[in-house]
Symmetry: C2
Subunit: 435 residues, 2 copies
């Protein structure tokens, strides 16, 4: 079965076509003469219909079992699919007891129920669609940056820095050291899981015009809310020779659009599943009809939209992406660039807020001026630990800036998913680290 | 300056061409009438030659400083470059005091020396080349898997499993918890940094025909040798419906070739720097001339290679990649598939060994048979902690296998670099976690 993203390299085959299919059974419909199966190999949401003679049916041919099937691909007479596989041989290679298997045929299980089975939930339609979308979104983000001349940097997970100074750090140690060692630190210094790759990317923005990283990031937030994960993915970019927030906002917007266009084009079926069944949007006609406003023109289906209707819809959906810029100076970390509008008044920082999620991206111009940065680090008592960071400004400093985008929040935003635990393969949060 | 990988999207420009160049100065050569600069923006190894009138020279125009230059790109009369920038304006945007800057103009610093400055070493030719190669190799690996229908999975860094059972785990905790909390575990259970994504990929190989991951992996090895890092990158793949080691070996070989071809084609200059200056190979003629063998035919330069020479060279370079298969059963972890040649005699495991590095890839077929796996887990006392893993075999189990490739070892192998610390942006190892 050709997966959706394979369409870029589609092949032409002549029917009938001898096919060896391996996958998992998604439905079994025995009829008098024929047996109908749906078999899926994970390459796309849609299964392949398999038709076989009834005598090929066996007791172990159940929902969830793994099969090897040999047959010929032929044109289907049913309109629901273009082709179907006429099977000559069906072999069950891995049984699946329907009583014990937590997912049941034809049942649509809730996301909450499915979440209890982290080792099996990829076998549901919704979560396998999510994982294909996640994979393609990753590809899209990496292509976007490469096409625009960015160098990808593998920034470290383990770090001796606390970039944000926000606390909520995980510490890393070797087990035995915790108990016995007189020097308890494997790295000689306390070491933490990264909360942001920004400082490491700033190192690289001193040699490359543009760099990015895409990887796991950590916050030890003691929360089991729908919004928090202890381990999540961040896209972070840093751009040298940049002097305005407009440049950063343009990159954020272009990134969002490029990734989303790619996902919509390569995973149309998978995205549709979310928009149709899991987080359906509202139909314009329903919004208009349920409003208490007295319209001059009719809001019946079939009547064209009038200006009054358009204005109402725009206002109703006022919930659009918004950039917020120039935050109070003291609210922002030491690296944020002073706008110098008034003494220490605003910093050149920007957040992108999106409906349903809140902050999707956060960025700033970085203070590249040695003296200003030096003063601020001294005030914060960080001049010793950040001596190396000051040196970046001492040797060939350039105006630069960057931002981070939460990858799970991005997926939530485009798919309309309420709970962040439903957009990551294995969720880690306070009191939960399954598998 | 167009970076080397941009050649896929090269543009045609007509000379003279107005250019605004931003970058870092790599050389300054003042002459009587003219000033010659080399300026690099990180997009490729080669700098752009800038020619300016001597009166544009200033005291702060030094090696390492950052500049904005406006001028016209023109055909160069010197054969060393096709084009050069004739500058009208030069502005130093970030000074660089040559006395304090640890890298000196025209000096080739040793890798050991450069390694002391993790925040600045990307400004050297060799390390910026390495980082461009690393970025392109990453692209190549991800393209290889995507083109072959694999779904990319972001497997977790934090895990409650010890995949290999090999010890050497980093434990993850919240700082305050270490001291005060009656339940000392943020995740309620002890949590570690992953040593392998294999078990998580096996989960996914129960729904997708092929999956891979590419990310950081951790070993708390108390070693400062040239071979060990506490944090390194692994490519790991898992393939469903695979019944032979030959299939795995083919993927390993194809991956190696595809990645290397891409790197050689997109980063030719950067790779040449390593092969020419840092890890030069041996010329065939030198190997032949320095041998003690009595050849029938001449080994002088200009004489063609004879069969006796070819045989000698092949033997001399006998150091070629080698697959080793079918390891003793008891040496391999619980998941390795029993070949059943004799009772518990060999396991279907494979390593790829390469010159200079040793083990580059390690893989195996996984035990997909519920009963055999169940027995082995019971013997190891793992039946409770791995109950979820057994369930993967209970529900729609398929023959499958996979492997991991150490990404730093791969880079060492193709570039001939001796020390693993020289192929990663920020090296973490016993007693060292700088930045």
């Amino acid at each position: 079965i050709l997966g959706s993203h394979s369409k870029e390299k589609s092949v032409i085959i002549t029917l009938p076509y001898l096919l060896f299919l391996q996958g998992w059974v998604r439905s079994v419909r025995p009829q008098k003469d024929n047996l109908f199966l749906h078999v899926n190999d994970g390459s796309s949401l849609k299964p392949l219909q398999v038709v076989a003679s009834s005598h090929l049916n066996t007791r172990d041919l159940t929902f969830g079992c793994a099969v090897d099937i040999t047959g010929t691909l032929e044109k289907s007479i049913n309109k629901r699919q273009n082709v179907e596989l006429h099977a000559q041989h069906i072999k069950v290679v891995g049984e699946c007891n329907p009583v014990d298997f937590p997912f049941k045929i034809k049942e649509r299980h809730s996301l909450e129920y499915v979440r209890q089975f982290p080792h099996l939930r990829c076998r549901t339609n919704a979560f396998s669609s999510l994982l294909r979308i996640r994979s393609e979104a990753t590809t899209a983000i990496q292509s976007f940056f490469r096409d625009n001349g960015y160098v990808q940097i593998h920034t470290p997970v383990i770090t001796s820095n606390d970039c944000e100074g926000a606390g909520e750090l995980f510490q890393v140690e070797v087990r035995s050291d915790l108990l016995y060692d007189p020097n308890p630190h494997f790295f000689s210094v306390p070491a933490y899981l990264t909360v942001s790759a920004q400082l490491h990317l700033e190192v690289m923005a001193g040699a490359f015009s543009a760099v990015y990283t895409f990887g796991p990031t950590f916050r030890a937030e003691n929360s089991q809310s729908r919004r928090h994960l202890a381990e999540f993915y961040m896209v972070e970019a840093e751009i040298a020779f940049t002097e305005s927030l407009d440049d950063l906002m343009k990159v954020m917007e272009d990134l969002f659009k490029a990734a989303t266009e790619h996902v919509l084009s390569c995973c149309a079926e998978d995205v549709e599943l979310f928009h149709k069944y899991i987080a359906p949007g509202n139909r314009a006609i329903d919004i208009l009809k349920s409003s208490s406003q007295n319209f001059t023109f009719s809001t019946e289906w079939g009547c064209d939209l009038q200006t009054e209707h358009e204005k109402f819809l725009v206002k109703h959906c006022g919930n659009v992406p918004v950039f917020v810029i120039n935050y109070p100076y003291e609210l922002k970390p030491f690296y944020a660039r002073d706008n110098q509008d008034q003494p220490n008044h605003t910093a050149a920082a920007v957040d992108l807020l999106v409906p349903g999620v809140g902050e999707l991206c956060g960025g700033s111009l970085r203070e590249e001026r040695l003296e200003l940065l030096s003063q601020r680090l001294a005030r914060a008592g960080l001049e010793d630990t950040h001596a190396w960071y000051l040196q970046l400004r001492e040797f060939g400093s350039v105006p630069h800036g960057g931002f981070g985008m939460g990858f799970e929040r991005y997926l939530q935003c485009i798919l309309g998913l309420h709970n962040i635990k439903d957009v990551i393969p294995f969720a880690r949060f306070s009191h939960s680290c399954l598998l």
